[in-house]
Amino acid sequence: MTLHPTLKVLVREGIPNVINPLDRNALEEALRIKERHGGEVIILSMAPLFSLSILREALAMGGDRAVLLSDKAFAGSDTLATSYILSEGVKKIGPFDLILCGNQTIDGWTGHVGPQLSEFLGIEGISLVRMIEEFYLEQDAMGRSKNGSIIVRRKIDLGYARIEARFPVLLSVVKDINTPRYATFAGILGAEKKEIQILSASDLKVDPSQVGLIGSPTKMADLFMPEVKRRREVVQEKPEVASKMILGKIHQRGLI
């Protein structure tokens, strides 16, 4: 029996032309599920057009097709506006069983987009997922998936919780979940033939007042360097002399 879950992997905009590391983990997990249970892996990203190479790379790793949400009107979106735009992208793609996201980006490190996307979609979301323990999915006479559910391990402050969730559900994954694969040469060649759909603000029919800088409730009011009151005694000496000076400081503080 082949199952056909539609899996979506979110590749959030991050540092230009690099897939955000945790998004690789999300994609890897999606590919593993596909290998075991069938289905389609769709890569979804909101980013400037120059990020097409990121999507190519994700396709080379094994994604089936990609959707890039790109529009000048999206520039300056904070996490709320970004999540809103992504949710409209998901709705445009159609029914799905599972959305996997990296828990956070290495630049912003907010961890907001996964939970906010689930909220905009009105589905359950689970952050800090470090393992998928069980995956269950049936298929109806038409070949559509039904009764899907999953058991995951989610990090908590002093250990982890085992959580059961019904599909559709969104998981934000952490690094421990897997080791992402590298694209093979065949994968890179194959990716050239895969479809990347580009959707603009008007394609998505997003509310213009909810996207970009104008649609972002948070604004940057100021940038500054913090005031530092330190002694700033800096030396350059031979290693054995430098180490003795450090030892002297440790001794002065009464710590040895």
């Binding site: 952050s127 402050d157 002093l158 085992r162 180490s243």
Partner: protein, 328 residues
């Protein structure tokens, strides 16, 4: 009194989470500054004693919500219930601890309320218009940014554990409002069980000496030298983000905005450039020593004593010299 400042209070095993008291204290300071009242939201069964504690630490009012079941999770229904409560009272500011639950609840609630949220603030302030100033490292960590949310309410922010200080506990009077919630229990999510994993190493936050390493260490093997040094000084080993991403050290060892905040008597950083994300987590250390081969490294502007040099040459000497001294 006009306006309200809200704080989300968390409990672990029937005890208030330390970060809840930390942000409550900061919330009190902010409420006093803008002439607002301070309310805490607490979810839990028979938590009347905890609610009283929140009052003693500064809350004017505690909304005590009956939980749906013993295994709490910030799912769509919990978010809906909290969003309704927020809409009813319309607070100006809502602070949450950046715990493993808070970092999921806060963005969900902000999305539900269509309001702004800043993550892992390292400081909070109030401007002349009464707006909440939310300070976070920006642009790769070279500078700090002030984030504001001028038009939407509440202004929401998360703060990591250890960043704010707990204020004074005094016997105070406050209103404790128990709220019966008609839970539908219709969420598609269920916590089956929780498993505890005890940390083995010395907690960074409690160490008097913190030895930290950065990208400049280069490999997992070099970390052994840091561990040896920390062991000799009875300290703990910390790290910046890149070594954690590389898998050289555990995430629980990360110091900085999205990791731990430390206040040791002595901090020694090896191969650390001095990005704000890390520096905000060590700024309250009594004494900061930095070793870096790059004389232009930012950390030299923010340390008490700096050594320009190769840590791989300096560390073996330092370890040897300390051993000799300890044997005397």
């Amino acid at each position: 009194m006009k306006g309200e400042v809200w704080v989300y209070a968390e409990s672990v095993d029937g005890v208030l989470h330390e970060v809840s008291l930390e942000i409550l204290s900061k919330g009190r300071e902010i409420a006093d500054k803008i002439g607002a009242s301070l309310s805490a939201v607490l979810i839990g069964k028979d938590f009347i004693d905890l609610a009283k504690e929140l009052v003693n630490f500064g809350a004017d009012r505690v909304h005590l919500l009956e939980p749906r079941d013993s295994n709490f999770y910030p799912d769509t229904e919990v978010v809906e219930v909290l969003a309704e409560l927020v809409k009813k009272h319309d607070p100006d500011i809502f602070l949450l601890g950046a715990t493993s639950i808070g970092t999921e609840l806060a963005p969900k609630l902000a999305a539900k309320l269509r309001t702004g949220l800043s993550a892992h603030c390292i400081d909070l302030g109030i401007d002349e218009k009464g707006h909440l100033l939310q300070i976070v490292p920006a642009f790769g960590g070279g500078v700090l940014a002030t984030i504001v949310c001028p038009d939407q309410r509440p202004q929401m922010a998360t703060i990591s554990p250890g960043v704010m200080r707990v204020g004074k506990r005094e016997s105070r009077n406050g209103k404790i409002q128990r709220r019966e919630i008609r839970w539908k229990g219709a969420s598609g999510i269920k916590v089956l069980d929780t498993l505890r994993e005890e940390p083995v190493e010395m907690p960074l936050e409690k160490a008097e000496v913190v030895i930290a390493g950065g990208w400049g260490l280069g490999s997992k093997e070099d970390w052994q030298m840091l561990k040896d040094l920390a062991a000799l000084l009875r300290g703990a080993v910390g790290a910046t983000r890149p070594p954690v991403d590389e898998g050289w050290v555990k995430e629980s060892q990360m110091i900085g905005q999205s990791g731990k905040t430390v206040r040791p008597k002595l901090y020694i950083g090896f191969g650390i450039s001095g990005m704000m994300h890390h520096m905000v987590g060590i700024q309250d250390s009594d004494f900061i020593i930095a070793v870096n081969s790059d004389p232009e490294a930012e950390i030299f502007k923010m340390c008490d004593f700096g050594v320009v040099g190769d840590l791989k040459e300096i560390l073996p000497y330092l370890i040897k010299q300390i051993r000799v001294r300890l044997e005397k």
